[in-house]
Point group: D2
């Protein structure tokens, strides 16, 4: 990490992959800048922002004062990106990627799209949840859902990775092992998510105004949050059948962090040991997944993964009534966005998957 | 409310019921003192505290500086209580009421017990959840579960009211209407609760130390929280059959507030209109229950009932997969403890049920 | 407080003063609505809002659901106000009162202006701080600075009360006793203020976006906050000479609350006893001021006045280097705005000054 | 940072300095473990804890699950430390170092003491502030005050570094440039500090119980905080004369972060340009100090240095009345404790001063 302050010169350093971040002034863009500042094999050479074009990075991202001294936000210029970069991260609002990705795809760049535009494989599902025909169904097919623990091999060969949503990431991690092993009743899956305020992005809004957002315990999108589509897609693939999920996200009082709580009924023959084995089988060797079972804290809490790409998972089984709860805790901006994107980037580039990402979270945080 | 500062003289003012608070230095005790300072027909004449006996009320309850000028915490003295008071509130740890209530009951005092000791009607259930035989099963029988919206008539004639737990109160309010009307599949009920830090009381502990508790999104007691027993008892009564609930509470980052989210599958024939009618039928005329459907915020958030006895309820129905979510938001220290106790006290005394309790919450808070 | 839910019918109830709130949908307006809902002698009959005209009160003020059932926001109509009301509260942005107050003043209504427009007595000071000539210097003269503990008699006879700013209120309360008694070096006064996010109002902004505002410890307006003008005016009057104040406000992480810390050097002959006497002389008999000296918490913290009109004051003297600190803690929306306005309203109307305002704060809050 | 998970084997890796942390289970100890996990040239081989001896690191430090897999907390054993380590960090309560440091010093180990026990050079000052004679005045003389920006050369040759307190660090950074250049009236210096809850350590206490600590704006130690002694010592050295400081810390609502606000009057001839030059002269080339002047945020806020060793400094000059404010923002656990210790460790070892410490803070955080 030595010398990180000297980086960000606006040109590729020797041996580093030159990359571009489109939409670099928001929270996800800022998080990509933060993570890539610590990445030994990547160098951000273009960071676009419509609003702040011409300003230094630290003008907006106060945390990055002193970093990226040679770089300023610039307007979007696809020719320049094609010319200078090997990979591009899109940290743009949903819908904007629909226009940009096809153009970028043609140029042969590796693309990591953090929007929702290319996450669903099935164009009909896209239409159901987003209310319009997907204009590029062929690209839907080529895109890989960028959850490395489920799609590592496809990511390796992908040119377009659709980075999962934060709520979806937490939900899938909580449920995947027991859904895959069919240890639970797949017809009565509930996933209740609690998430911090940074999820909604950097643009002020009445619901995220501090006096309204702080102390909130506020359900939202209680009957059709769009991340459900991703969750059902991925869990369905694991189960080998259609899966429907009762899903309610809640805005709670934290800046970062998302916890997914799976509530499920045990299938016949399932018990605590089998549940444990399912989690261990899926996550035991994953460098970024930590199974929480012991210690002073028995279940995952996103508080203890803040700032990192870790996913803490855990579970509880209540024998009395044959049910279980599964938990997954993430930092919504890292594992739920920028970190997961860098992890996929590492895989696409043939790097060690953990490059630039394997440092400990803060505590207390 | 005029002249409230002149109150708290340690003797009954004309026309007011003299009451005692046992365990007055904790959060629940403090909240009883706060609420009763505004009550036109009650006067706290004894406030016991082992730790702070001899100290003025404001020594501990900084909010009450200037109030209760003539009153100091005193050691517990049942004779004095019997002599001076007509009603007694027990704000003591679970287990302590088991010793005190029988003695107090004999004296003929009206008793409002805020502990868990007399909430369960079935001694076997008590044994299952609390790990020992209940020593006074006859008192269990006489005790009334102090949730006025469900047991108003019994409370009117009760001498012993067992005030519900905070998580249980929120859970029951969220689920009661649809359980009673059997609009949901009673075999797959999930209740996911999120609650603030004051729930755990005023005694410092590692888990509630500010650096650990702030920003937490932390599941706890995920496979056997004791409030489940109360919830299943009350929902079972409403349904006229055994009901089991998958229940997980989560510590979230707020001081006050609890939100219960019911996740359920619609029964055959149930739809949004029927769900709405069930809530309206049960709560439409209740002075403390507000059904949230319109406005800038579509679902309940405990943030907007803070400091009061209100319960905000609401729901969402997802037709796509035949499910619903039900919500109830409370202030855990008021509706989840002291306020609900005062509401029951009003009923027991034949007062208007809302006496001293009907003032608006804060916003923002 | 009984029956408060029946209030807010849009017409004056017998014996109550009909009042209007101009700008009723913001935080200060909402707080006026909350406080007046508990006021036995006042009735809000008009609540104006440009943005929400036609909507029920609870549409915006979620805390007030169930209250003011007969009232809706309405557009501003001065004739109607004149016709129906005896007093009017202006909870409008600074500058807007400059246009409204002169018109309202003509009609003979009692006016409580919560903006900054009429707080300064000296038109030159107004020009210096607000950058333009005051268009109504005669009204500046007639306006009374609505800090009852300093201007009670003038308020009694006023038709126009300029309610102090929240930071200024806290600052003046912290410093007034020792400035008046000249116990401190008047040439080196420092007032350092810490304040919660609701101070900035209900309109979303980048600086008050939850992810940016939460956890902030952020100085602002460090060299010319406009409240300095009020503070210097009032302290100057008390001292009988010009007083200049080094003043820096800081945004800290709370929704409500403001603490002013006066840092000062003791004048010759001043000592702890004299400082104590100065506070006691000025505040000892004030119903809303509590001098904090004993108990588990030795200094004021706004946390324990939240929701109320109380001011907790205190101080510390460091003999070693002949200095002192003075503290005043308020709820910025109540004592720093709406509550102080109602207190002045009570005085103007000849009511008991504490009417509708004397109830205990929350703890914990 | 690659391979960090493989570290913590309990033995020195090739080329790394083996170090010990005494008192490794508290917040400061945990922060040392976190930082040293990222340090390329150091390896923690012993981590002592009385309470958790035998437990794995992640049992207590949930953030470090997956790290330090080969290491467990162990009881204190000075022989073993001497045998295995080259440097030792003491993260023990004040007073405990008085016993340990002399023993460790004899062994020739490099010592970084994070307690207050060896910070004051003058034994009389120690007695004044700590109420007893210092038992090792000779070690006071040998100890170097570990603020690298002021004492870099002495640290290079030190065997005992006394790491500054968090409030003191922030205070000194805010004031040092203008005190050194005598741009302010040295007889009227005020430093007002605001600090998060982690400052008080990991041990639960009534004042840091979440419901009491959250939302607090609470002055404490308002007339004799012990960090004043350090601040006056260091500012006095810079000024070449005795300096006294009016100092009040305030507990505000954040977990991490401390902001010091210097309030001062300008000396004759001082102006904004000279103040700016003083800050630039002292900090312009420091790798960990960032001078904040431009961008969307004009003054330092500890929020934007969280998790790092950075100090953000800034100032404001109010010409009208010849005053200034100076600001320094730090993470109290990093720059106010563990990070500053590692920075000094780097200097003592002849490493690049920034080793393991130069990564960007989080935003939002």
């Amino acid at each position: 990490m030595l010398g990180v302050c000297d980086r960000g010169t606006g040109r590729a350093v020797s041996g580093a992959i030159p990359v571009c971040i489109i939409g670099a002034s928001g929270y996800t863009g800022g998080e990509l800048l933060r993570l890539l500042a610590m990445h030994p094999n990547a160098e951000v050479v273009i960071a676009t922002s419509r609003e702040y074009a011409g300003k230094p990075i630290g003008y907006v991202h106060f945390n990055l004062r002193g970093f990226y001294k040679g770089l300023r936000f610039s307007p979007l210029n696809i020719d320049e990106i094609t010319d200078k970069c090997e990979a591009v991260f899109l940290a743009v609002p949903h819908g904007a990627s629909l226009e940009l990705v096809p153009k970028l795809y043609e140029t042969g760049l590796k693309i990591l799209d953090l929007s929702a535009d290319f996450r669903l494989k099935n164009p009909e599902e896209y239409k159901r949840w987003y209310g319009r025909e997907h204009p590029y169904p062929d690209l839907l097919e080529k895109a890989v859902y960028g959850l490395p623990e489920l799609h590592r091999d496809e990511i390796r060969n992908a040119r377009l990775v659709a980075v999962p949503g934060c709520n979806a990431t937490a939900a899938i991690f909580a449920a995947a092992p027991v859904v895959k092993e069919k240890l639970v009743d797949l017809d009565h899956l509930v996933i209740d998510v609690k998430v911090g305020s940074s999820e909604a992005g950097s643009k002020p809004s009445p619901g995220d105004h501090h006096p309204e957002r702080e102390n909130a315990i506020r359900p939202y999108s209680a009957e059709g949050h769009r991340h459900v589509a991703e969750v059902e897609q991925e869990l369905g693939m694991l189960a080998g059948r259609d899966v429907r999920v009762a899903f309610v996200p809640h805005a709670v009082s934290a800046i970062r962090g998302a916890l997914a709580t799976l509530h499920a009924w045990l299938a016949d023959g399932a018990d605590e040991m089998k549940v444990w084995r399912a989690y261990a089988a899926m996550y035991g060797k994953e460098p970024f997944v930590r199974i929480v079972r012991t210690g002073l804290l028995r279940y995952p809490d996103p508080k203890y993964v803040i700032g990192t790409n870790f996913v803490d998972v855990g579970f509880a089984v209540e024998k009395r009534i044959g049910r279980m709860a599964g938990f997954a805790a993430i930092d919504n901006l890292v594992r739920g966005a920028a970190g997961q994107a860098v992890q996929s980037f590492n895989i696409m580039m043939g790097f060690d998957e953990t490059l630039g990402l394997l440092y400990p979270p803060l505590k207390p945080a």
